[in-house]
Symmetry: C2
Subunit: 197 residues, 2 copies
DNA sequence: TAATCTACCAAACACTTGTTAGGGAAGGAG
DNA sequence: CTCCTTCCCTAACAAGTGTTTGGTAGATTA
């Protein structure tokens, strides 16, 4: 039976685990430290979870699920290239606002985790993400909205990295809202930082 | 006595250690794995180094030394704001070309390492780096070279992150030289990716 | 009231970790 | 030939790791 409090407690424990993982790094974090932060003993965590790895798995997969729910609606909206980019970036910063720790973990550990079969979905997600971006950028170049003299793949990498790495310094409740950060970032990438003419 | 071969061997071992650290993450990497990659046994590493941590220390500090040698000459050259930014970015990509693994390690581990007294110089370097960038950007805004409606601190963070995170995908000897990557990146950041007008 | 279930603790387990101690082959120095 | 240094190996250690087992106070159910 999956009671309601059961679900809530799991989510609560996963949230603190995600925070500690993000701060110290997954491998550098001991199960006892997570338990400490949650206010119980190490062994007690195994009443709720199979293993340390399954906590990480649940943190990352539930984050990616919600992320793609947002992305898919954007991609299905039939917007123009520039508007699609704007919507994707804004959606990304919103996810950072909501799932900060999960994003930070993803950004640090995704590379060597995706080698493990259990985390193969990380690689899948990355491929899907890259395809969506590249298609949008190429469409923009074809329509004359984006410059043709830039390497699309390089642009994609730069934009992707900058957006996600923002999770390492962004703190919810700061002076800038996710939408404001997205607006400034988009303005920089789209129009450049130099004065026109 | 510090013989020549002694120095060469140390550098050789540090290079392979840096590669493994960058691939697997410092904490996830066991001393035995480093030894394996270097073709000797775990204990034998302790003939050359005091500890695993001192390997990391030597990798990071020697990288930062060389990095700042480059930066300082750029900053002392008395260039204009735009030219200073261009030179800093280009120099950064050159360092990524030369010290790829060290940069990757730095980018992943710097945050929680700088809390340790032994690695306090990481925090110092970051402060110095931030000051140099912010001063240059503000000077550019004051001179009318850069837009005044962007948050300088945000611009700094975005640019800094994008440049350094490139170490995670850049591979020496690829299709793009460091200078070419720097040129494309600068073109994007300075002029934007949309077509003029 | 009696039985069951929930959520935790106490204590240990097997294993991996970084590190150390002692020894030995190879080769140059005297 | 002998001595000594260099560089590595073998073998172990203590501490820390993720995980398991058995138990138990307190609420929930019958």
């Amino acid at each position: 039976m999956t009671t309601n409090s059961n679900v809530e407690r799991r989510a609560e424990l996963l949230a603190t685990a995600a925070q500690v993982f993000a701060d110290q790094g997954y491998n550098a974090t001991t199960v006892r430290r997570v338990a400490d932060a949650a206010g119980l003993l190490a062994g007690s965590l195994y009443y709720h979870f199979d293993s340390k790895e399954s906590m990480l798995d649940e943190i990352l997969s539930s984050f990616l699920d919600e992320l793609w729910a947002g992305y898919d609606t954007v991609l299905a909206a039939g917007l123009g290239p520039r508007e699609t980019i704007e919507a994707l970036v804004t959606e990304s910063f919103r996810q950072i606002d909501r799932h900060g720790p999960a994003v930070a973990i993803y950004q640090k550990e995704a590379r060597h985790l995706s080698a493990q079969p259990r985390f193969a979905y990380l690689a899948d997600s990355q491929v899907k993400f890259e395809n969506a971006w590249l298609r949008t950028l190429e469409r923009g170049v074809a329509e004359g909205v984006f410059r043709a003299d830039l390497d699309v793949r390089l642009v994609y990498r730069f934009v992707r990295d900058t957006v996600w790495v923002a999770a390492s310094w962004y703190r919810p409740g700061g002076t800038h809202s996710p939408e404001e950060i997205a607006r400034q970032y988009l303005s920089m990438v789209l129009e450049g930082i130099t004065t026109p003419n």
